[in-house]
């Protein structure tokens, strides 16, 4: 690894210069602004300037009834909109004490996991594209397209699904959906060989990722990192296991972890997670119970006064909805704990000492969504 120079070693006027990476840059996944202090091509200090896509979702929530916040929830993390949407519904259900039918919970699991696979595929392939390989990105896109088509058949939308409703889901899934999902699972399992040959085994990819951007366990804990980024650092923590929501307690799956904490570990964790998600989908479809898909809830709900915190695992980490209700139809306060927010902040700790090219790799491997950070 490169030896990190401290500011004291360098005559500032001569050697350091600042580079604005973003807000308009091909590899910042949206509008994120890195203010880098560089020594040659080595980053000495990195500061992330965020807020370019701040839309004030939390303030919006205070100005609309609970139902009207459905579309907002998916627009925070547009890559795992289904998970955010479902999570919001579950948070409000927890607040109101609504019991969701089992079939609806299973459908939520199936759609959320499909969404997670789609998000991970994009995350992994975007990371590979940041390193410079464009073709694997489009192969991943090809797989992701099947999921989007599949979800479109039941939700009618491709990114901002808006599918979950308080007390259940909007549309039931049928046999054709299950058959296409099974076909996708079979196809996806075969595709792992392609990804391993084309990307994981590639010597350039290995050289670019192994030992780059190491997040140690302690740093991860200190900075509140969650999700695949945390599991890549060797911490076995997944909300789906630790606090099973929906019906994750019914399924048999593993939490893949890697000890190394570098870009490669995070990449491998994501690929392994896709595999586990496929397992969950398969189990859920095999044991799909019959019954109603929506509990009998009023058209507009009025939760009792009080507060609740609901945590769930999105494709990027542990998301939390903290809702304070004052007993009216409008939330008094709605706070979203965005995993990308903390995951991004850790970059200011680990980037110094790396090249600009590594910054792109690390940023890709942490896989943040900017609208989720900015909310």
């Amino acid at each position: 690894m490169l030896t990190m120079k401290t500011i004291d070693d360098i005559n500032i006027n001569e050697r350091l210069y600042q580079l604005n990476l973003g807000p308009q840059h091909p590899s910042t996944h949206g509008v994120l602004h890195f203010l880098l202090t560089l020594d040659g091509e080595v980053v000495v200090k990195a500061e992330m300037l965020i807020g370019y896509t701040h839309r004030g979702h939390e303030k919006m929530a205070e100005n609309r009834i609970y139902e009207q916040f459905y579309p907002n929830s998916a627009r925070m993390d547009y890559l795992s909109g289904m998970i955010f949407n479902t999570g919001y519904c579950e948070a409000v259900e927890k607040l109101c004490g609504i019991e969701v039918p089992k079939r609806a919970r299973y459908i939520r699991v199936i759609t959320s996991e499909l969404n997670r696979v789609a998000s991970h595929l994009l995350g992994v392939m975007d990371f590979v594209m940041g390193i410079g390989a464009y073709t694997p990105f489009l192969y991943g896109w090809d797989d992701r397209e099947i999921i989007l088509d599949l979800l479109e058949t039941i939700t009618g939308s491709r990114l901002t699904y808006n599918y979950s409703r308080f007390g259940g889901v909007r549309v039931d899934i049928d046999q054709t959906f299950c058959d296409s999902a099974r076909r996708f699972i079979d196809r996806m399992r075969e595709r792992f060989k392609l990804y391993n040959d084309l990307i994981t085994g590639n010597i350039i990819f290995i050289k670019r990722t192994v030992g780059v951007g190491v997040i140690s366990k302690d740093v991860a804990l200190d900075y509140g990192v969650t999700g695949p980024t945390l599991r890549g650092s060797g911490v076995n923590y997944d909300v789906r296991k630790s606090e099973p929501y929906s019906s994750y307690e019914d399924f048999n799956f593993e939490i893949p972890t890697k000890e190394e904490g570098d870009c490669m570990a995070r990449y491998l964790v994501r690929l392994a997670e896709i595999e586990q998600s496929l397992r969950i989908i398969e189990q859920a479809m095999n044991n799909l119970p019959d019954g109603p898909i929506r509990a009998d809830v009023p058209c507009f709900i009025t939760p009792p006064a009080g507060d609740c915190y609901h945590s769930f695992e999105s494709a990027r980490g542990a998301v939390g909805y903290y809702i304070v209700s004052d007993g009216t139809r409008i939330p008094y306060r709605l706070k979203v704990r965005a995993p990308s927010f903390s995951n991004l902040f850790v970059m200011s700790k680990i980037i110094p000492g790396h090249f600009v090219a590594d910054l792109v790799a690390i940023f890709g491997s942490i896989d943040v969504t900017v609208p989720e950070i900015d909310r």
């Binding site: 091909p26 590899s27 390989a133 464009y134 489009l138 084309l198």
Partner: protein
């Protein structure tokens, strides 16, 4: 009055002989060939990339979109050429002009067939090396003059990269030159009438192809442009036809590098059934296809790895190869 009767013209004609005619006609042909060739190669690149990525590539203009690059060229000519306010204007203007010089000059010595060569030089190979280094200069000029940090980083990378990769490039060429005892390109080609140098010198051939990919700044060595890091590298600030000139130079350099590889290792114009030029162009385009294919397969190296690869892998191996070649030739 007959112009040729003038003493000065007579002197020039006497000095140049029939070469003048060949020179003028050849230059015209090169001037026509270079833009058309690069337009064709852009189309090839987009088509190959498309099919590798399971999509058809350009399809709209002409059959299978073959006229797409010509239309794009027309569009680029109509575009405004923006010069940044803080740019070094003369240098900024000169860089794209200089970058096409090696693209044109190098064609002078390439033997497309036994008869199709504009000028036979005793040091043809050296001329190509000498002139292709100019492209590094123009990249440096463009990157510096843009007054953009991304461009500057790209330019600095370009210089370091071209220095590092010229050494193994020359060393691998040297082993061929030792074998045919000549810097003359036609001599090297005619020496391969029975066995290609690729069979005799496989290591040198592979190193040559790798280094020429790096010299022409193609992926996986395209750190000079490195889209995901440096936006567009040295030509970030260039627009319109100036940008197109950089592209033209890049694709022509690709073609020249492939032609060099054909001359040095793949038997030049030699081949059954067809005439020499057909074989030569086929081989050159196949090598171009290989570089395009490589580009759309691999990730990009990091800068220190690029340097390590040149200094720790390519240079030792090519030196070793040269040494072995020299010993074998001496012994035989």
């Amino acid at each position: 009055m007959n112009m040729t009767q003038l003493p000065i013209i007579k002197d020039i004609y006497g000095f140049l002989g029939p070469d003048l005619l060949v020179g003028v006609v050849g230059l015209l042909l090169v001037l026509i060939f270079v833009p058309l060739n690069s337009a064709f190669l852009v189309w090839v690149e987009r088509k190959v990339a498309g099919h590798i990525q399971l999509r058809p590539g350009p399809m709209e203009v002409g059959p299978h979109g073959i006229l797409q690059s010509l239309i794009d060229a027309v569009k680029l000519m109509c575009k405004e050429m923006i010069t940044p306010d803080l740019a070094d204007k003369p240098l900024f203007w000169m860089a794209p002009c200089i970058v096409v010089i090696p693209a044109i000059v190098c064609f002078v010595v390439i033997p497309f067939s036994p008869v199709m060569q504009i000028r036979e030089l005793n040091v043809g190979i050296l001329l190509i090396f000498a002139f292709s280094s100019i492209s590094g200069l123009s990249i440096m000029m463009g990157g510096w003059a843009s007054n953009n940090k991304y461009s500057l980083i790209g330019a600095v990378r370009a210089v370091a990269q071209s220095i590092a990769y010229e050494i193994p490039l020359l060393l691998s060429t040297m082993s061929v030159i030792i074998m045919s005892n000549s810097f003359k390109m036609s001599q090297i080609v005619s020496d391969q009438s029975t066995v290609w140098n690729f069979i005799l010198q496989p290591v040198a051939a592979i190193i040559f192809i790798i280094c020429s990919t790096a010299e022409t700044n193609r992926a996986p060595f395209d750190l000079v442009e490195a889209e995901s890091e440096l936006v567009s590298g040295f030509h970030t600030e260039y627009t319109g036809m100036r940008d197109a000139l950089f592209f033209m130079a890049e694709y022509t350099a690709m073609f020249i590098a492939s032609s060099m590889a054909v001359v040095l290792f793949f038997g030049g114009w030699h081949g059954p059934f067809f005439s020499g030029i057909v074989w030569f162009v086929l081989k050159a385009y196949f090598l171009v296809f290989v570089t395009v294919w490589i580009r759309w397969t691999f990730p990009r190296l990091r800068f220190d790895q690029l340097m390590n690869f040149a200094w720790k892998v390519l240079i030792p191996i090519s030196l070793l190869n040269l040494l072995v070649t020299a010993i074998v030739i001496k012994v035989l």
